[in-house]
């Protein structure tokens, strides 16, 4: 092997290793439909929807579209995407949803006034996946529902039009509106307080869907912009950049080895 060959080889190895290290940062490292969940021992700095600490939490931006429910003007929705960040402690889950809404509609005090709102939908039974449109009678959903007129409800639903409020809500929410964006933070204990409520596991992923209403567009009920099922990455499962980095490195080394073997093989064949 000549010096020139060695130089070429060195360049090749450098490029491959660099690609292996940097590629995950360029590509979307996260599996589709995943909402990362960050573990924190103490979530006090995240209790307010506008708290600075939320900016350090990895977030997923989720596209929303009209839910297509059987109500007038169901397709006339305006919220196109929302960003969801999740944190869990040893005993609570925190979710922060933010979305753009140019008008703040917080009143339901007039006949034509509807409030901005957002909802988080979880399977009542964390290990099943209910129908996306509010679940079904035998596969129900929990809904955490916040409206800008100051209400937070914890609801049970088994199909469209069946939402029923739990009498002792365990969900708390607070919100801020700034620069044309709502920020709403929900929190609930991981353990289900009573029957028919989602027990949020710490060892498996949980499906989650969200919906948003623009009160200024008289959106309410099924006239809403909703997501598909996503999942909160609560499980230990294969996910996240470290795992991908290992894969990329192995793949890179494999390529280098194959290239080396090939070059050496070619040289030896020629040398004969």
């Amino acid at each position: 092997m000549t010096n020139r060959d060695l130089a070429v080889l060195a360049v090749l190895v450098t490029v491959v290793l660099a690609t292996a290290g940097l590629a995950p940062a360029f590509a979307d490292a996260r599996p589709a439909y995943e909402i990362p969940v960050q573990y924190e021992a103490d979530a006090e700095p995240l209790e307010g929807a506008g708290d600075e600490a939320w900016t350090d939490v990895p977030a997923a931006t989720i596209p929303l579209s009209s839910a297509g429910a059987n109500v007038p003007a169901a397709d006339d929705t305006t919220v196109e995407r929302a960003t969801v960040a999740a944190v869990r402690t040893d005993d609570r889950l925190y979710l922060r949803l933010t979305w753009a809404d140019p008008s703040r509609n917080a009143s339901t005090d007039r006949i034509r006034a509807f409030a901005d709102a957002v909802a988080v939908q979880l399977p009542a039974n964390a290990s099943s996946r209910p129908p996306i449109a509010m679940g079904s009678t035998d596969n129900r959903v929990n809904v955490w529902y916040w409206t800008a007129d100051g209400r937070t409800e914890e609801l049970l639903a088994g199909g469209a039009g069946t939402t029923t409020a739990f009498e002792d809500p365990a969900v708390e929410a607070n919100a801020t509106y700034e620069d044309g964006r709502w920020q709403v933070a929900f929190t609930r204990p991981l353990d289900a307080p009573t029957a028919n409520r989602t027990t949020i596991p710490t060892d498996q992923d949980v499906d989650v869907a969200i919906a948003a209403w623009n009160g200024g567009n008289m959106e309410r009920s099924g006239q809403k912009a909703a997501s598909e099922w996503y999942y909160l990455a609560l499980g230990p499962g294969p996910s996240g950049p470290p795992y991908e980095l290992i894969l990329w490195t192995i793949a890179g080394l494999g390529i280098v080895a194959t290239t080396l073997v090939t070059i050496i093989g070619v040289r030896q064949t020629r040398g004969r």
């Binding site: 109500v71 339901t108 007039r110 006949i111 034509r112 006034a113 039009g161 069946t162 939402t163």
Partner: protein, 351 residues
């Protein structure tokens, strides 16, 4: 569903045992609003219901309550199959409270009389009362008392995505289940008569309940009583009973003689409040002679009550002539009865 004498079925909504109904004789209404106040003091005197008139009396022709309700859509299409979405009235259409110059008088030392702010007093319930239409000497108007029609084919019930509105199986009264209602207001916009109201304090919608505690005898004296609007009416213009009570005056006036007609039948909700259409003196010439021409144009009455109003008016005219000639007329007997047992037949189906 029950059978009439000639075998025609009385149309009741599916799953309904009986159907409450009311006939209002518009020729007797003096526009005194006693019915309005009777209702209000019973049901809507506070708690976010201040602006509501479950019973109102409006002048026709006129914009009504809420203003221009007849132009807000709702109800069903021509086949009665598809709902036609309606509009949600704004607060002003119902007559929002006016702003007065309290601030100036109380705190700024103004000597002005207490009065509404300059542009505040521009609309209110019965703002156009007694205006009517037509030119002197042939101007005309009449009063139209309105409650929820407790329709056989109610579009408010269909409009609710949560089935919070329902027809009671025992008597067809349309009610809003306050526990199920989440204040979406699809019923408010879906009712073409605009007889469901949003309570902004309770965040639910509410409506006329046909005074069901009264007709159930749940009052303090335990007696069955007609709805307050009917009981308190000074000229006693309302008959209350069941559409399928074939011996009662309502069935006779509606189905047998067909002199009581529905308001805006083209909305296809099949109201169970029926009206005896109004007569007015004939038109007068400039010199004051009576002319052979209707004062209230038939075309206008057709707009309100549909084409059946013509035959209804013709029948009443014929029956009046019979009475004038000394003959018997069951129609006129029914319309002029002073026997409250006949006027309010609410216990015929009691077990």
């Amino acid at each position: 569903m029950s059978q009439t004498d000639d075998g025609d079925a009385v149309d009741l909504a599916e799953g309904i045992d009986h159907q409450v109904a009311m006939v209002m004789d518009l020729n007797k209404c003096i526009g005194c609003q006693t019915c309005t106040i009777a209702c209000k003091t019973n049901w809507t005197d506070g708690g976010g219901r201040e602006y509501m008139y479950w019973n109102n009396v409006e002048t026709k022709p006129g914009s009504g309550y809420p203003r221009d309700w007849e132009e807000m859509g709702g109800g069903w299409d021509d086949d009665g199959e598809q709902r036609t979405p309606g509009d949600l009235p704004d607060d002003e259409a119902y007559g929002a409270p006016w702003d007065f110059n309290h601030e100036q008088i109380m705190y700024e030392g103004s000597d002005e009389p207490l009065r509404p702010m300059s542009d505040a007093a521009s609309w209110g319930p019965n703002w156009d009362e007694d205006e009517g239409a037509g030119e002197y000497p042939n101007s005309y108007y009449f009063y139209l008392p309105r409650i929820c029609n407790h329709c056989t084919h109610p579009s408010c019930v269909e409009a609710c995505p949560r089935s919070a509105l329902y027809k009671r199986s025992e008597d067809g009264i349309v009610l809003v289940d306050q526990d199920r209602c989440r204040g979406y207001r699809y019923c408010v916009e879906g009712c073409p008569y605009k007889k469901v109201y949003y309570n902004a304090m309770k965040k639910t919608s509410e409506k006329c309940i046909f005074c069901y505690p009264r007709i159930e005898g749940e009052g303090p004296d335990g007696e069955v009583r007609p709805p307050s609007c009917a009981a308190d009416c000074p000229p006693q213009l309302r008959l209350v009973g069941y559409l399928d009570d074939e011996d009662g005056p309502i069935h006779k006036l509606v189905n047998e003689y067909e002199v009581a007609v529905r308001l805006h039948p083209e909305y296809r909700t099949e109201p169970n409040v029926y009206y005896i259409p109004p007569f007015a003196p004939p038109q007068h010439s400039e010199s004051g002679e009576s002319l052979n021409a209707d004062r209230i144009p038939r075309t206008y009455l057709e707009e309100l009550f549909g084409p059946k109003v013509n035959e209804a008016l013709n029948t009443i005219e014929r029956e009046r002539d019979r009475v004038r000639q000394g003959e018997d007329s069951e129609v006129m007997d029914l319309l002029t009865t002073k026997d409250t047992a006949e006027q309010y037949r609410l216990e015929v189906f009691d077990d």
